[in-house]
């Protein structure tokens, strides 16, 4: 048995730099901040979206609308994953029609979360465009979904897991490779 270990992919400083770059790229992608809306996926995605909105406010001087979304009710695997954790809050800006909605999540893996997120957004309005920004793309897609803005591409060997830590929930910012032994 291998002992469990953590390997740091991004440390606190690197996460901060990556988020600054992502904030710039998001504004470029949306052609400014006028129609931009950030929507974070619970839970770590919503923390990252809040950070990005603050960075965009610093960089571009504009307060962009911020929403959070829990996609649990739109998952395709309710039958197999219960007993269910408590569903988190969904709070979206009133108006999504004609907006540029940037979905923010921590890790992009199979793409199933993003599929669920897009289905849910469609029930709230009809954005002009939906984009995807993730801190980490770890590959392993099971659906034809890609991110528009990626903080870091991480190659995750079989049997390992990539964890995104955020200060709000975990006490520090980092991206780590973890020998999960179960993934």
């Amino acid at each position: 048995m291998n002992p469990s270990y953590n390997e740091t992919v991004l440390d606190t400083g690197a996460v901060a730099d990556v988020l600054k770059r992502m904030a710039r790229e998001i504004v470029e992608f949306a052609g400014g901040t006028d129609e931009l809306v950030l929507v974070g996926i619970q839970r770590r995605g919503s923390d990252l979206a809040e950070r990005l909105s603050r960075l965009i406010a610093d960089q571009a001087g504009a307060q962009v609308p911020l929403g959070v979304m829990d996609i649990t009710l739109y998952r395709d695997d309710l039958q197999t994953v219960g007993p269910r954790p408590v569903v988190g809050e969904t709070r979206l800006p009133q108006q999504l029609d004609h907006k540029w909605v940037m979905i923010v999540d921590d890790v992009l893996y199979t793409g199933r979360t993003i599929r669920a997120a897009m289905d849910q957004l469609a029930d709230f309005g009809r954005p002009a465009r939906i984009g995807l920004a993730v801190l980490v793309d770890r590959g392993g897609r099971e659906l034809p979904i890609q991110a528009d803005i990626v903080g870091a591409h991480v190659d995750v060997p079989t049997g390992e897991r990539v964890d995104v830590l955020v200060t709000e929930l975990d006490g520090r910012d980092a991206v780590e490779l973890v020998d999960g032994g179960k993934t």
Binding site: I41, R43, R44, G45, D70, L73, Y74, R75, D77, L78, Q79, T80, V81, G82, P83, R84, P85, V86, V87, G88, E89, T90, R91, D105, D106, V107, L108, Y109, T110, R112, T113, D119, Q120, D123, F124, G125, R138, R161, V162, D163, V164, G180, K182, T183
Partner: protein
């Protein structure tokens, strides 16, 4: 370990405080679903739910039906009128026939205490008790608790008095079990003929006078006086009941604390409750109705969610939001 509810929701008597809290906490996000422009999520798509009502009901049946539809389940209502249906075999026969059509869940209301358990023991589908005889009405008690928690912020340490026809009330029983498990103090108040003899064994205090109950309580849950039972002579007259036990504005205003008033409906205005109280600032009665849909969505969602053995296997592959 997140607690699970198991196969059926039959009552609150055998639930743990953690399970009750899980339902209340799960109901929170479902409140918001009903505020959306499209009041529907795909969570129970493809599930078939039968609402099997052997007893009259408007509010509970409609509330369950909204909950089911907002979770995208397919629903069928079966209203079998009480007189023609015998307890026992015919109840099971009905359910087994429904099950043969491949249903997933049954919500059952029945005039016999224990009917929901009887059914749950005999069919594979999830069974939810929508009220059985004088036994339990768990979703009503859960929405009462959610409404109290919304108004006051907590249930632990609160003093809740259930007023009126406690003897015939499944709402009272479910409330007593649920509230005491969450740390509230519970009392009952009503005429001696409508308070069961051994009620203290459930850990509740008995008040004989409504004034004393109001003096003591933070919350009053005012039960419907079941007028159809008047013939049995439980109370001398409606007028006298109102004079002695009615929750009137004058009595509520004399309360030492800011009371919260609940009523499970349907109300008899001017019998157990004064209209000025029912429609006044202390009342959360309509909020209870709104919460009813959210609580029932939570129960359906939790019962439908997966089998524990698969959950164990799926654990760990669900880290980092990367499903």
């Amino acid at each position: 370990m997140v607690p699970s509810l198991g196969k059926d929701l039959l009552g609150l008597e055998h639930l743990t405080p953690e399970q009750i809290r899980l339902i209340l906490d799960t109901a929170e996000p479902f409140k918001e679903v009903s505020e959306r422009p499209i009041k529907k999520v795909p969570t129970l798509r493809g599930k078939t739910i039968v609402n099997l009502f052997f007893e009259a009901s408007t509010r509970t049946r409609i509330s369950f039906e909204f909950a089911e539809k907002r979770l995208s389940a397919d629903t069928v209502n079966v209203a079998a009128q009480g007189s023609s249906v015998q307890k026992g075999e015919s109840l099971v026969d009905t359910a087994q026939n429904l099950e043969a059509m491949r249903i997933d869940m049954v919500v059952v209301r029945h005039p016999s205490s224990g009917a929901a358990k009887f059914l749950g023991d005999r069919i594979r589908s999830n069974v939810i008790n929508g009220g059985d005889g004088m036994h339990e009405h768990p979703t009503q008690a859960l929405l009462d608790m959610l409404s109290i928690r919304d108004r006051v912020g907590h249930i632990d340490g609160l003093k809740v008095c259930i007023c009126g026809d406690v003897a015939h009330s499944r709402v009272a029983r479910s409330n007593i079990w649920g509230l005491t498990k969450l740390g509230a103090e519970v009392a009952v108040c009503g005429p001696q003929s409508l308070i069961p003899g051994a009620i203290e064994e459930l850990g509740v205090t008995v008040f004989r006078r409504i004034e004393e109950a109001i003096e003591w309580a933070d919350v009053l849950n005012v039960l419907r006086l079941q007028l159809e039972r008047m013939k049995a002579g439980y109370i001398p007259s409606i007028r006298e009941y109102y004079r002695v036990f009615g929750v009137t504005l004058e009595r509520v205003e004399r309360a030492p604390r800011d009371l919260v008033i609940l009523h499970p409906g349907p109300m008899n205005r001017g019998v157990e409750i004064d209209s000025r109280v029912a429609d006044g600032p202390h009342s959360v009665i309509l909020h209870q109705v709104t919460n009813g849909v959210a609580v029932r969505m939570a129960v359906l969602y939790l019962l439908a969610g997966g089998q524990p053995e698969l959950a164990e296997a799926a654990k760990g592959s669900d880290r980092g939001g990367a499903v």
